[in-house]
């Protein structure tokens, strides 16, 4: 809830969100289904103390630090990659997870990685590609579950995240 307009909610409807806390602890977060104004354009707001704010700040730092290293690769993150990563971060499926680890790769792309109980989930976003690739399974295992997914397809993203959370225990 925004710190700007503090309302005492007596929620009529509650939505329970399972929140992955990074150490196999799953907590239930109840959110009232009300808005404070009549704006319809979809915007995910954030406050200074949440992981989304921290993740966005880290993205800016990575963007500033990106370098083209001759012989090694071009690790400058493309603007369109940044936009696509933000769209992915603000989907309901990903907001249910904890803050990811960001790993830039050569060519302007970025991977988002979560680890729990030797299970790993990775989304990789590429410049020029509307879809992201994903991979989930045991760390360093030969068998992985992978594929491609649109960064705004919350239904498919939810299925991938649920699979990861289930196998991570």
């Amino acid at each position: 809830m925004s710190a700007l307009l503090q309302a005492q909610w007596v929620p009529v409807q509650q939505r329970e969100k399972l929140r992955y806390a990074g150490n196999s602890t799953v907590s239930v977060e109840r959110q009232p289904l009300f808005r404070l104004n009549s704006e319809l354009t979809p915007v995910v707001q954030y406050e200074g103390d949440g992981w989304l704010f921290s993740a966005l700040a880290e993205l800016h730092a990575l963007k500033r630090a990106g370098m083209n290293i001759p012989g090694l690769g071009d690790f400058r993150i493309a603007d369109e990659t940044m936009d696509r990563v933000r769209r992915l971060l603000t989907t309901e499926a990903v907001l249910n997870l904890d803050k990811p680890q960001f790993v830039p790769f050569s060519g302007g792309g970025l991977s988002l990685v979560w680890n729990s109980n030797n299970q790993e989930l990775t989304f990789s976003v590429y410049p020029g590609e509307e879809q992201a690739t994903y991979m989930t399974g045991a760390v360093n295992a030969a068998e992985q579950h992978d594929g491609v997914v649109a960064v705004t397809n919350n239904t498919d993203l939810s299925a991938i995240v649920t699979r990861f959370l289930t196998t991570a225990g």
């Binding site: 009549s38 354009t41 704010f53 936009d83 933000r86």
Partner: protein
């Protein structure tokens, strides 16, 4: 109440309007808030849509909103004895850019920017659309033998997106965006801000303007933005059409003046204000 009826206001001899080459407004909203209509229930939403279907063929069901002025603290309560849980319904046209919002406590018309309809729609264009919508709504209430709404306030909002990377780069640039933000010059503690959000409420003539500024991510394109929501409200002298539309016109004047007074000349020029 003596309010100008022109759609273009003047302040200190300067002509004000929302004519920009690249306006920051992505959405506007105008209409009336009123006491809950006794006897209104969930079935009336569907019946009302029958009257709007030719104009607004599509529907959406976003979460309901608080209808009272946003002065904290607020308490929202519902008990099982009430005939309706809070419900908000949108009737939209095929482009999803023109729509009405209906909840038991308000009736609004929104324009929202879409890829198919990116051009800003001025008040003079939207007002006749809203008048027609309001007339349909009142006719429906009369047919259903429901009382005419007792209007609490007329309201108009501009929802603006200040895009990071286009309109500003870091929070150190806020003095270039907002007239009220001086920044921290050569401050040993407050430098390289990472986050800022604020809320301003100002009486203006017979009405009030509220401005809420806060960061967010626009999910349609992933852009990081500062949301700047300007809401002007005026309490009309009565619930008749003359009074409430006069108050709505007052809201428009207040919103125009506030927009011009809130953003810096540098930003207004950057957006390409037309003379």
């Amino acid at each position: 109440m003596n309010l100008p009826t022109e759609s273009v206001s003047r302040i200190e001899g300067k002509r004000l309007s929302m004519d920009f080459d690249r306006p920051p407004a992505v959405e506007t909203s105008l209409g009336f808030f009123f006491n809950k209509i006794a006897g209104w229930n969930v079935l009336h939403f569907g019946a009302l849509w029958e009257h709007f279907k030719n104009k607004y063929a599509l529907t959406e069901f976003p979460p309901p909103i608080i209808a009272t002025p946003t002065v904290p603290p607020l308490t929202l309560q519902w008990s099982p004895s009430e005939s309706i849980i809070p419900l908000r319904v949108l009737f939209t046209d095929a482009s999803r850019s023109q729509l009405v919002q209906v909840q038991n406590e308000f009736f609004l018309h929104n324009w929202r920017k879409t890829d198919e309809t990116p051009d800003y729609q001025h008040y003079d264009h939207i007002l006749p659309l809203f008048r027609e919508d309001w007339s349909i709504y009142l006719t429906f209430l009369e047919e259903q033998k429901l009382p005419r709404p007792a209007i609490l306030r007329s309201e108009m909002s501009y929802f603006n997106h200040i895009v990071r990377g286009q309109d500003f780069e870091t929070y150190e640039d806020l003095p270039k965006v907002f007239r009220n933000w001086r920044g921290f010059e050569k401050n040993p503690v407050f430098n390289n801000l990472e986050f800022a959000a604020f809320n301003v409420v100002q009486p203006v003539g017979v009405g009030k303007i509220q401005v809420v500024v806060g960061p967010g991510v626009r999910t349609t394109d992933g852009k990081e933005i500062l949301q700047v929501n300007l809401t002007a409200s005026v309490v009309p002298s009565g619930s008749g059409n003359d009074s409430i539309f006069l108050a709505l016109s007052g809201c428009h004047q207040i919103a125009l003046q506030s927009f011009d007074s809130f953003f810096t000349d540098e930003m207004l020029a950057k957006w390409g204000r037309k003379k």
